[in-house]
């Protein structure tokens, strides 16, 4: 079946890979924001993950080790943000932006001697005959491991937030940190761990770019993906399932506009390339229309400074 000269099955399979970096970064940021912390440094953490993952992969020859290193490296970077905002009570918006600036600079310094090298390939998981099932096979059973890691992370975050005690605590801390503190929860400690989880996810997302999509380290290679991830969290109105929807929608519209061009449609190109952003806005408007403002599920303490005064 072809639509406008595009095969939808191929398109869906492509977009699952294409959306993985923003999906990983967004799901991590979702957890961070659920605990009431707004970290705008996603871009900086992604690029740091991209370089850490690449360096370790080149030194060890193992992309798997690279992804672990990316997660650790970015989690360490996010620790700067965590300490500044949680211990030194610094403004989160500004600290996040500073983190991006710092991460971009640091990653470029770290990667200086790795420019122009090519990372080893990262083969798809072998599902055997499953991959040959029509429609479902190419969409679900023909990807590299990180695509599944990203999906499992989303499911895991969704389940934890919804059904577990840990999820309850995370949400309590994000909704009203004073009340959570009064109940005896370690607000600062929980937030620091959440921030590091967000950093680790963003790092893996960045490494997916350097190790899977491009197979190379290039300065500034995230090219704004971190900002898209941030937008997706808001778009998803802080729900894990919708993060998946948002990431696929965004990735899908981007791919669709490129496919439409390739298929030779006569839409004006410069306006097509705006379309992912415009459609994201449009869908957001449709989703928020008719609902009360506070039904948007923004965590009550998002971005506010917590200081235990008792």
């Amino acid at each position: 079946m072809m639509v406008f000269g595009i095969d939808p099955i191929v398109l869906i399979a492509s977009l699952m890979a294409a959306s993985t970096p923003i999906l990983l970064a967004a799901i991590g940021e979702l957890v961070v924001e659920k605990t009431g912390v707004l970290n705008l440094g996603v871009e900086g953490m992604m690029i740091t993950g991209a370089v850490c993952g690449f360096i370790v992969t080149m030194e060890t020859g193992s992309p798997g080790a690279g992804f672990v290193a990316a997660a650790v490296g970015s989690a360490l970077l996010s620790l700067i943000f965590a300490v500044l905002t949680q211990v030194f009570l610094a403004n989160q918006v500004a600290t996040g932006l500073a983190l991006t600036l710092f991460g971009l600079g640091l990653s470029a310094l770290m990667g200086q001697s790795y420019v122009g090298l090519k990372s080893p390939s990262f083969p798809a998981v072998n599902f055997g005959p499953l991959a040959d099932i029509p429609v479902v096979g190419p969409i679900l059973f023909n990807h590299d491991p990180m695509v599944y890691v990203a999906l499992f992370t989303v499911v895991g975050v969704w389940a934890v937030l919804r059904y577990s005690r840990l999820g309850l605590i995370l949400r309590a801390v994000g909704e009203n940190h004073d009340a959570a503190h009064a109940l005896g929860y370690k607000v600062v400690r929980i937030r620091i761990l959440a921030i590091m989880f967000g950093g680790a996810c963003a790092g893996m997302g960045g490494a997916y770019l350097s190790l899977v999509r491009v197979h190379q380290w290039v300065e500034g290679m995230t090219a704004g993906a971190g900002w898209i991830a941030l937008a997706i969290v808001v778009f998803a109105s802080w729900r894990a399932g919708r993060v998946l929807l948002g990431a696929y929608l965004f990735g899908g519209v981007t791919l669709l506009q490129l496919n439409l061009q390739a298929a030779g449609s006569n839409f004006p190109v410069q306006y097509l390339s705006m379309s992912p952003y415009l459609i994201t806005i449009l869908v957001l408007v449709l989703m928020s229309a008719g609902r009360r403002r506070n039904a948007l599920h923004a965590p009550g303490s998002l971005g506010r400074v917590f200081h235990a005064s008792s």
Partner: protein, 357 residues
Amino acid sequence: MKLKSLLLGGAVALGLATTAQAEDPTKVGFVFVGPIGDGGWTYEHNEGRLAVEEHFGDKVETVFQESVPEGADAERVLTQMALGGADLIFTTSFGYMDPTINVAAKFPDVKFEHATGYKRADNVSTYSARFYEGRAIQGHIAGKMTESNIIGYIASYPIPEVIRGINSAYIHAKKVNPDVEFKIIWAFTWFDPAKEADAAKALIDQGADVILQHTDSTAPQAAAEEAGGVITFGQASDMGEYAPMPRVSSIIDNWAPYYIARTAAVIDGTWESVDTWDGISTGMVGIGEISDAVPADVKAEALALKDAIAAGEYHPFTGPLKKADGSDWLAEGEVADDGTLLGMSFYVEGIDAEIPQ
């Protein structure tokens, strides 16, 4: 106005100082639009800078500044270099054109070289490379090698440089394969690996088995390798890490000979304002090793084409050629003039697409 005269005074004083102390190393400045680690455009200009350092040793000192935004920042960086005693400054992006002209007017004793622009002055030269010559060779190989007869082209922005490349590749692919069809994606970016990978994927999904790119990252190469059975060409740098497949050849920006020659001219005092538009013949446009994935006869033809272009026996834009709107452009045997090529804003006949305007 007092400050302006002071500035001029400073410049003149410095100019005198540099000529008076002849044993001082000649200072050559480079202004880059991207980071030197971009693996593409800026990376190759920086390779040229390093070649200058190596060639002249102690006689030359180079300074550079990377990731300089076009506009006000460029003007300041240029002034800074001139104040800092640079004798020769290369500005390596089209967007530096007006800043280069402005700063050059304030520092008549400093020589400037602006890449890819068209404004000159007594102390401002321009230089650019005829990349379309390399595109002709790519087109030839692509036309011979494609089995689906669909060639994908990842373009950046619809500017003459890019349009020229598309036309040149198309003409030569068509010449050897009349059934060939071009599918063009405008990425509207010079550099965004994720988007370039997506664009390559989209073209491959659309049946393309050859991908040409006019964006700088290796992401399309990685996408082609993953897809298998697709060939690509390196852009700006050799991208040899993807040889022999998918990368079967490449266009390499090789600025080193030009940078060395112009630096030597400043040292000798023979520097003059010129307009250079060099191609394969001087080595400014390098053709990367054609890999074994290309059949021997096709490789031989491609090399013959390269030699003919290098020797000046053949021009990639030779008539009869029509424009895409059906109007006549070049008569039989007629060769395109540089003016038309420089401002090229039309497709040649056969490319079934619109240029975004």
